[in-house]
Amino acid sequence: MRAFLRMGNRLLFYLLVVFVVVYSVFPFYWAVISSFKPSDALFASNPSLLPLPFTLDHYRNVFIQANFGRNLLNSLMVAGGATLLSLTLGVLAAYALGRLPFPPKNAVLYLVLAMTMFPQIAVLGGLFMLLRQAGLFNTHLGLILSYLLFTLPFTVWVLVGYFKGLPRELEEAAYVDGATPLQTLVRIMLPLTGPGLVTTGLLAFIAAWNEYLFALTFTVGDKVKTVPPAIASFGGATPFEIPWGSIMAASVVVTVPLVVLVLIFQQRIVAGLTAGAVKG
């Protein structure tokens, strides 16, 4: 009886596991399937769970009829630019905050922490006017600068943690050998924080890649528009016709690189996410 009960428990447990996996994966699976189905199969009353019949039409549509290639390029430039800028500035600041004698250290750290909790919407109007006054409205640089609002504090916060974790002796040895603090940073500390840089950069990139509110508000037309607002506003030939197949194709195109990155860097992302949060 007991063994029976245990087996039942085990079965129930695995059913739960299957449920969690299906729940997590199915919506994306369904988007992929839908992106490969011709329109009439999409609107069937009894849709197949497999992409049958199969077509690449929606992908062709997205890249030829819509300006999606342009949007992708914009997303790459903006997210890449924001990531590189945040890492560069973030490393310098984090080294000073984590390693050097700096009297207002705590004040700056609190400021950075406060900014990670800052609601983007609260500065929307101010940033909108600032970008327009500076002639940066609807430019890549303008969008990159506005993204620093959330990528930079996060980068600094996580990197300070990495720098603090390195042993004191390394630095002292370098100083004894006559290295300046800047040389110590570049030659000794930076190579050691490599994995931290990759994780932080990846998380900053994903955050910028997925950003919607600023991209929607600070761009006009397709010149600078990134993928999220482009997908959100995908229209059909008429206002009544929503091109679900194309929307799903575009969704798959932007999501696949992210999912691949996440699968490759799984361990690091989980570590970085929890480090960023747990230390907060």
Partner: protein, 291 residues
């Protein structure tokens, strides 16, 4: 000597970051505070006029603002509660020893990695009133008596959007809680087993108390996110009053209505709300976590 040079270097290294903070947060924020006391449009078509606290007084009696506040509170309370319960369950599942736990952890990372806009669109398609898979399967399996227009019925649209948010953000919760679970020493459970405590008792006496710090941090993060929610709401139902949250209403006022003065006042109100929440949370839960 060396120290003084180091302090100077530290200032030099922190300076660019501080400049950016002033530029993208400090200055815009000051502008928002300033203009909240004016009647002004965002393109300054007409000369701005100082009106004192008029925008704030209007805020207190604006039914749209009240509705947006109420929507935000409903969204936050329901989505964060569900995400916490579900996240805790998933974290406990992954934390127990079984074949394929790596697979589960990978699977739950997928919703996390998907851009919010994309997840909103994916679910919009799945919730489609005629061709959506949820309606088709629901009717076929007898769960739904007939197809439901989830995103058109005023009483269903917010719950539907909450369901999408829960799907997208529960993984984050689960990962944070999993990290917390992994910090609990295994010996405690062994000792409890020897003393004859069953799984359920162990959960209440060991797991939950020791998980509290991680739980508090996760709650703070998620609540802050939920209070400023914009993407999922705006993509799935635009400025529909039934779902319009503070952030959506704020953007509509500033950009669509071009009302810089009143829009800025709403921004200040959102900031105050978030500040208030942080203080209350830190005071009550934070102290408990630090004990």
């Amino acid at each position: 000597m060396l120290t003084q040079r180091q302090v100077r270097l530290a200032w030099l290294l922190v300076l660019p970051t501080l400049l950016v903070v002033v530029l993208v947060a400090g200055y815009p924020l000051a502008q928002v505070f300033y203009w909240s006391f004016f009647r002004a449009d965002i393109a300054f078509v007409e000369p701005p006029e100082f009106v004192g606290f008029k925008n704030y007084l209007y805020l207190l009696q604006d039914p749209d603002f009240r509705q947006a506040l109420w929507n935000t509170v409903k969204f936050t309370v329901v989505s964060v509660s569900l995400e916490t319960l579900l996240g805790l369950a998933i974290a406990l599942i992954i934390h127990s020893n079984f074949k394929g736990r790596g697979l589960v952890r990978t699977a739950i990372l997928i919703p996390w990695a998907i851009p919010t806009v994309v997840s909103a669109k994916m679910w919009q398609w799945m919730l489609h009133d005629v061709y959506g898979i949820i309606n088709i399967l629901g009717v076929k399996l007898g769960i739904l008596s007939q197809k439901v227009a989830f995103l058109a019925r005023p009483e269903l649209v917010l719950p539907a959007i909450i369901a999408v948010d829960v799907w997208k953000t529960t993984p984050f919760m689960a990962l944070l809680l999993l990290a917390g679970l992994q910090l609990i020493p295994e010996e405690l459970y062994e000792a409890a087993s020897i003393d004859g405590a069953n799984r359920w008792q162990q959960f209440w006496a060991i797991t939950l108390p020791l998980l509290t710090p991680a739980l508090v941090v996760a709650l703070i993060f998620r609540t802050l996110d939920a209070l400023r929610v914009f993407d999922v709401i705006f993509v799935m139902s635009g400025v529909n009053p039934a779902t319009r949250t503070l952030a959506v209403y704020n953007r509509q006022t500033l950009i669509d209505f071009q009302d810089l003065g009143y829009g800025s006042a709403i921004s200040v109100a959102i900031l105050l709300l978030i500040f208030l929440f942080v203080v209350v949370y830190m005071r009550t839960l934070g102290r408990e976590a630090l004990r």
